[in-house]
């Protein structure tokens, strides 16, 4: 296949299972997705929907008792699961970077910001130590940290939550990666800081030509940051398409439910709607559609067979026997 037309990241039928106590839990079930160069894709779902597992699988960080049991993950045309340990280390942090949810725990408390930044730089570039400092300070400035030379020598506990996340982002972009995976990057932060961090991510993604995989449960974030969205439920992809389309006309009842749960402007005093039921037990999934117990539109055939992920006329993929269609269509 010609590499120039290939997506940056192509997941083919990726399946991750956790085994234990005679139970097998399929955390990620047959997910096929792609991220183009320079594109931002949001993966949305409740806790336990497999979105973080999916992200960890891409960087091959699934630990026993979990394992990738099927599928491929092609990154720049190479199968990530076939890489040797040293090749993998070059990809991790070098070509694919990761921003975690909680910067308070994902920075090493005994190393200064500079030491951790220069670690990323030293691991993946041949910059010399004295140049590493100048570059590190430049990176801190790039992510909007004021008084960067002073912050470079600070320890993580001397920084605010927002600043720590900026440091994490600086570390992530230090090696000029192609793909940035951000796993709930703003969940642990104050609301005001959230907006700043999201703005920074979008800006960096645009300016550096990064592809971004944003994992989140927060749909309002998706609208601000990403071009495409993939909705996961019980480890399966249930809907995928352009953010504008999906938000305007959610096709899957689950997506529709999620969107209805969002607080809206001007809705003061109105009760927030919630989705009935709870996220399913992955060890005891029904044979048909996993959303059956919570679906307002359930039909007998929903219980019989898992609906396939069909591509609609608008290029959207939906896993439902009776997707909503455009109003009037």
């Amino acid at each position: 296949m010609d590499r120039s037309v290939m997506p940056l990241l192509q997941l083919d039928s990726l399946t991750v299972e956790y085994r234990g106590d005679g139970e097998v839990v399929r955390a990620v079930d047959d997910v096929t997705l792609s991220v183009e160069t320079g594109e931002s894709l949001a993966i949305v779902g409740e806790s336990g929907s497999g979105k973080t597992t999916l992200a960890l699988a891409v960087t091959r960080l699934i630990q026993p008792p979990g394992s990738v049991v099927a599928g491929r993950a092609l990154f720049e045309g190479r199968d990530l699961f076939a890489l040797r340990a040293d090749e993998l280390r070059r990809v991790r942090g070098g070509r694919i970077s990761y921003v975690f949810q909680d910067p308070a725990t994902s920075l090493n408390p005994v190393l200064t910001v500079g030491e951790q930044l220069s670690e990323a730089i030293e691991l993946h570039t041949d910059r010399r130590a004295e140049r590493a400092r100048a570059y590190g300070v430049e990176l801190l400035e790039r992510v909007g940290i004021r008084a960067a030379p002073q912050r470079y020598d600070a320890y993580p506990h001397e920084l605010s939550g927002g600043m720590r996340q900026r440091v994490m982002i600086a570390m992530a972009i230090a090696t000029r990666p192609k793909l940035l995976i951000a796993d709930e990057p703003t969940t642990a932060l104050d609301v005001t800081v959230q907006v700043q961090i999201l703005r920074l991510l979008v800006e960096l993604q645009r300016d550096l030509g990064l592809s971004m995989l944003l994992i989140t449960h927060d749909l309002t974030i998706v609208e601000r940051t990403c071009a495409r969205v993939a909705v996961m439920y019980a480890g399966r992809l249930v809907e995928e398409g352009a953010v504008a389309d999906v938000f305007a006309n959610p096709a899957h009842p689950y997506t529709r439910g999620l969107l209805a749960c969002r607080p809206a402007w001007g809705a003061v005093g109105r009760q927030l709607s919630t989705m009935p039921g709870q996220s399913p037990d992955l060890a005891k999934l029904p044979p048909g559609c996993a959303f059956v117990p919570r679906c307002p539109l359930v039909e007998p055939r929903c219980r019989e067979r898992l609906p396939t992920l069909d591509t609609t006329a608008e290029g959207r993929r939906v896993r439902c026997v009776k997707p909503f269609s455009k109003p009037g269509a």
Partner: protein, 289 residues
């Protein structure tokens, strides 16, 4: 309040270290010079702490003894810390059968009465001792070269005490590493492309050092005590080289007539061990605060 106690303890240790390093310059007499005519003089202006059976100045011997005791204490603890950190870190990081094997080794060594093993080792002559400590084909000779200025017996004593007391540190480090390796910054280091060795040495071990520091400080007191006991039994530092332990031993026979011979080294041991214990407690509180 506690804090002040710890500072006093640390101050005492610092003073001991200064005294030990300046011993040749501040000691009023040669610690080995015998003057039988001056034997068993009680404390006076000429001999602040009196003299022993051979007319040697007790203060001078005490100052030189500080050197020996502190050196043995610090270095044997260093041996224990290096060994314990290494073994504990490997066990905690790799887990599985590696962990099982290493921890059973620790259990086994902990169930051996340390003192008798030490007695057996130090009762051998130095050449044999180095062999007995083998499994150390490289470390043995290089340590010997490094510390040529120290009596090989003393060196063996240090290594023996260290090699017999690393198990506590190993358990401590193992437990720390096991909790630390689940922390998110380790995952972050892995996704940043760091190798397991780098993660262990740069991210995990430095984070596990705080409790080791406490344990090491407390350990120095224990090591000094062990040295004193061995020397007292005549198996540690050999006369005429003064150590607090063998000074106690030599003073023992004259206990009825010359109390100053046992009083001063005894008090030194007491104060030093106490200072290290209080300092260790202080550091623990400072870390846990």
């Amino acid at each position: 309040m506690k804090n002040r106690v710890a500072w006093v303890a640390l101050g005492t240790i610092a003073m001991l270290a200064i005294v030990a390093s300046l011993a040749p310059w501040i000691a009023p007499y040669d610690p080995l010079e015998t003057r039988i005519v001056d034997a068993l003089l009680p404390p006076s202006a000429a001999h602040w702490l009196g003299t022993d059976q051979l007319g040697r100045d007790v203060l001078s011997r005490l100052l030189y003894g500080t050197r020996i005791s502190l050196t043995i204490g610090l270095l044997s603890v260093s041996v224990a810390v290096v060994l314990g950190t290494f073994i504990g870190a490997i066990a905690g990081f790799f887990g599985g059968w590696v962990d099982s094997v290493l921890m059973r080794l620790v259990d086994t060594l902990l169930s051996v009465p340390l003192m008798f093993l030490l007695l057996a080792i130090v009762a051998m002559d130095p050449a044999q001792q180095l062999l007995a400590l083998a499994g150390w084909p490289v470390i043995g000779p290089s340590v010997k070269l490094l510390f040529r200025w120290i009596d090989p017996r003393i060196m063996v004593l240090m290594i023996a005490i260290g090699a017999m007391s690393w198990m506590g540190v190993a358990r401590l480090v193992r437990a720390e590493i096991m909790t630390l390796k689940e922390r998110e910054f380790v995952l972050a280091a892995r996704v940043a492309g760091a190798s397991p060795w780098r993660i262990l040495t740069r991210h995990l071990i430095p984070n596990a050092m705080a409790p080791v520091l406490v344990s090491a400080t407390l350990g120095v007191g224990g090591a000094i005590l062990t040295e004193s006991v061995l020397s007292y039994l005549g198996l540690g530092v050999m006369p005429p080289t003064p150590s607090w332990g063998n000074m106690l031993n030599e003073g023992r026979v004259a206990l009825g007539v010359a109390w100053w011979l046992t009083m001063s080294p005894g008090l030194c041991i007491l104060l030093t061990v106490l200072a290290f214990n209080l300092a260790g407690e202080g550091i623990r509180e400072w870390i846990d605060r």
